[in-house]
């Protein structure tokens, strides 16, 4: 992961944001989040792992599609509301055209075995992209004030709740999210008290 050490860059214009988010959105089948992490953190270096996690955390807690919230916040960070509009428009415009064309085509080809098979294959790969991206992002937990063991336990419990017990996201955030943020606050307070002593 040598590319994580390259210096951060920034987009030259809202136009570049629009193009980048269009390309990014067009690669995302069944979930754009993994692609977004790859493009924004690894390829373009507009954000580091921790900044990406931070934007994603806000996007996750707020209502609305988290990937659209991420686009909006990344755009806003560089060019204010113009950047926010450019990034969000890039995220939505071309995919919208494609999805409407597909709606018209769908009824004709949905049951063709090769098309159904291709969709299944792409679904399997998307699942892998999520898992692989999770593993990559996990490296950022080493610097977390809660410490790696606590982070690991929290992540495991959260995975069981969301993936295996099928809790609604609101429950996950109101229980585990609140506990985690409360504990992080406690650790940060303890750390500040310690550094005040010295």
């Amino acid at each position: 992961m040598t590319d994580a050490s390259r210096p951060l860059a920034r987009p030259a214009s809202p136009g570049e944001l629009f193009v980048a988010f269009t390309l990014l959105a067009l690669q995302g089948f069944g979930g754009v989040l993994a692609i977004a992490q790859h493009v924004l953190v690894q390829e373009r270096r507009w954000l580091d792992q921790e900044e990406f996690l931070e934007v994603l955390a806000v996007g996750q807690v707020l209502p609305g599609p988290n990937i659209c919230n991420v686009a909006l916040m990344v755009g806003d960070r560089f060019f204010g509301w113009r950047g926010a509009c450019a990034a969000l428009a890039g995220m939505m415009a071309m995919p919208l055209v494609i999805v409407l064309i597909l709606t018209v085509l769908y009824t004709h080809y949905a049951f063709h075995p090769a098309v159904a098979g291709a969709l299944k294959g792409m679904g399997a790969v998307s699942a892998g992209l999520f898992a692989g991206t999770g593993l990559r992002l996990a490296t950022a937990l080493r610097n977390n004030p809660m410490g790696l063991p606590v982070c690991t336990v929290l992540a495991l419990v959260c995975f069981v709740a969301a993936a295996l017990a099928h809790w609604p996201l609101v429950w996950v955030l109101l229980t585990l999210g609140v506990i985690a943020c409360g504990y992080a606050y406690h650790r940060l307070t303890a750390r500040a008290a310690r550094s005040a002593d010295h």
């Binding site: 690669q27 089948f29 069944g30 979930g31 692609i35 996690l53 934007v55 806000v58 996007g59 996750q60 707020l62 209502p63 599609p65 659209c68 939505m92 995919p95 919208l96 494609i98 999805v99 409407l100 597909l102 709606t103 769908y106 949905a110 098979g117 291709a118 299944k120 294959g121 792409m122 679904g123 399997a124 790969v125 998307s126 699942a127 892998g128 992209l129 999520f130 898992a131 692989g132 999770g134 593993l135 990559r136 992002l137 937990l141 977390n144 809660m146 982070c151 690991t152 992540a155 959260c158 995975f159 993936a163 996201l169 609101v170 999210g177 943020c181 504990y183 992080a184 940060l188 500040a192």
Partner: protein, 176 residues
């Protein structure tokens, strides 16, 4: 088709309300969309409603676009514009306001605690999304493809589009 201004306004109004309830993405308010579009207004059949979600998942881009497909099937292109604008406007406005508020107060301990506390949660939700997607289609070859993709993403710098195209090919040939 009752594609009058009143219908568009009604669609827009319903989706504006749902927008702020959709924590975790619009997929969480699908049951309510079904109640309004299929049961109450009779604009879509059950089959059309389900197809809207399937089409959006099969096409590139954010899954939220299923909302536009529903609007399109209910009232053509103006319908798509009404539902998509309705679901997006409130949540995007809120996201911008909150993001700016948080960035202006990045030194506050509460803001830092939020970032630190949420990091493992967000990562776990990433794994959960992968798990739920993978569980849709059982079978060991399918699992093998998922694991291979995960390891390649984690350990190599392979372009993700290459993986997706490879998955589509393997699937089209009937190997998964």
């Amino acid at each position: 088709m009752q594609s009058s201004f009143d219908l568009l306004l009604a669609l827009f109004g319903h989706f504006v309300v749902l927008s702020l309830l959709a924590v975790g993405g619009a997929i969480t308010v699908v049951p309510d969309m079904h109640r309004v579009l299929v049961s109450n207004m009779g604009l879509l059949t059950d089959a059309q409603f389900n197809a809207s979600i399937a089409i959006a998942q099969a096409s590139p881009g954010p899954n939220i676009l299923f909302v536009a497909v529903m609007g399109y099937q209910a009232a053509g292109l103006p319908g798509a514009a009404a539902t998509l604008a309705g679901i997006m406007l409130p949540s995007t406005t809120l996201a911008l306001v909150v993001a700016r508020w948080g960035r202006a107060r990045r030194d506050w301990r509460a803001v830092q605690a939020f970032k630190a506390g949420m990091a493992p949660i967000v990562i776990a939700l990433m794994f959960a999304s992968g798990w739920i997607l993978a569980a849709e289609t059982p079978g060991w070859r399918h699992v093998l493809l998922t694991v291979a993709a995960a390891v390649l993403v984690w350990r190599t710098r392979i372009h993700l589009l290459v993986l997706i195209v490879a998955g589509a090919l393997v699937g089209a040939l009937g190997w998964v």
